[in-house]
Symmetry: none
Subunit: 235 residues, 2 copies
Amino acid sequence: MQNAKTKTILIGDDDFQYVSWLRATLEKEGYSVIWAQNASEVMSKISTKPTAVIVDFMRGQSVGLDLCRELRTLPEFKHLPIIVLTRKCEDSDEATGLEVGADDYIHKSVSNRVLSARLRNVLKRSNALESDNVEEAACEITLGDLVINRQTHTVLLKGKEIFLPRKEFELLWLLVANKGKVFSREMLLRRIWGESVYVTDRTVDVHICKIRQRLGDFGQENLETIKGVGYRIKA
Amino acid sequence: MQNAKTKTILIGDDDFQYVSWLRATLEKEGYSVIWAQNASEVMSKISTKPTAVIVDFMRGQSVGLDLCRELRTLPEFKHLPIIVLTRKCEDSDEATGLEVGADDYIHKSVSNRVLSARLRNVLKRSNALESDNVEEAACEITLGDLVINRQTHTVLLKGKEIFLPRKEFELLWLLVANKGKVFSREMLLRRIWGESVYVTDRTVDVHICKIRQRLGDFGQENLETIKGVGYRIKA
DNA sequence: CGAGATGTTAAAAGAGTGTTAAATACCGTT
DNA sequence: AACGGTATTTAACACTCTTTTAACATCTCG
């Protein structure tokens, strides 16, 4: 449920006081923050490939807008989430804003909670746009006496419910959903733990062990170890 | 899953220039568009049963808000997706908009890409609400000794009436109506609090706690926590 | 046999949750 | 508009369960 990779937010704003507040807010939420004091700095720091950009209108001058427009012309940043901060409601700004294509407009006075929630929303949306979401295809898989349901988070073995904690559940689901396919520990870690999570691959072994115990004979028989390679569900 | 019928969007806005842009955007996305120039026109054209309504605040007067409020009082439009456009950046407006039952609140300067993404979001959500479960269909659900009635807003436990405040009631209703299904806190927040309401997810926990207390043993036994995942009613 | 790999267990570390109380927002009355 | 009561939200702390680490046992195969 938590983001695997640390998300980086590039802030383009020359209001030092606000930036320090914003930085604190974002970092508390687990984002990493890069600060650019002016438009050209933004353009140079954009190469770090931030997850999103938050720009201010820069003291009423439409530097932020130009920036926004410029970014949108570059193919690689065409879908980069951009949030424009505002402190005024000047119509001229609005009119221009229309054509530049920001993802959200946030008033500078909003609370940190609202800000981070809206940022989250924007990120979620842009994420959905990119992968236009397959969502969860099936929510239930069956393998012999075993029925795993994602929606209800239940595992039924011969009709009896067995509780699995989250990681074990995900592990089992992944393996069963790909019956026969061998997953290396690394692969499992990447798929379930996420890209930049640092855990020993022995952790996987422990979980596999627990799963086997919980599933009893069924586990012993079907959850197979391929030595030197990984684990799989027997085909 | 999707019905083949073209989705119709009713636009209520008197800003001709903007409307023509909006219409172009939406039609390019495959929606069919109906335009109403003022509030009463909206009310008359609403009978065409559009898939969603997009209204502007109409030059600062809160016509849009009144409209929104009015629509919400009519049972048949209780769940009609409403998006409120604005060019103002006052938080009070946003607060009011949401309070009055808008599904999303979008700044007018936002790009067409963003606009259609958010529209899609709103539609998806309202769709899920309608098809996903019984919810609106039945106004009374029973679960063992528990009877929940939406119309009368009452909860009977072993025949004894128990009062639940609104949020707790909605929460319980949603969970019971989808017995067995696990809802993450995010999901609950989106479904009950709405798309653009920003509260800590711990709020959900507090409500769950209260519900459990009120329902006594029944609550303890049936309202289950799946750690790291969410809540559900035991199947 | 012995080295590397895996199974297993228990304890440490960590994350997630229950619960209470206090703060805030809301609502109907006066 | 001020008031009082209720509902909702936040914040804090304790506690539980999960996850991870580490250590040791066991296995496999050249």
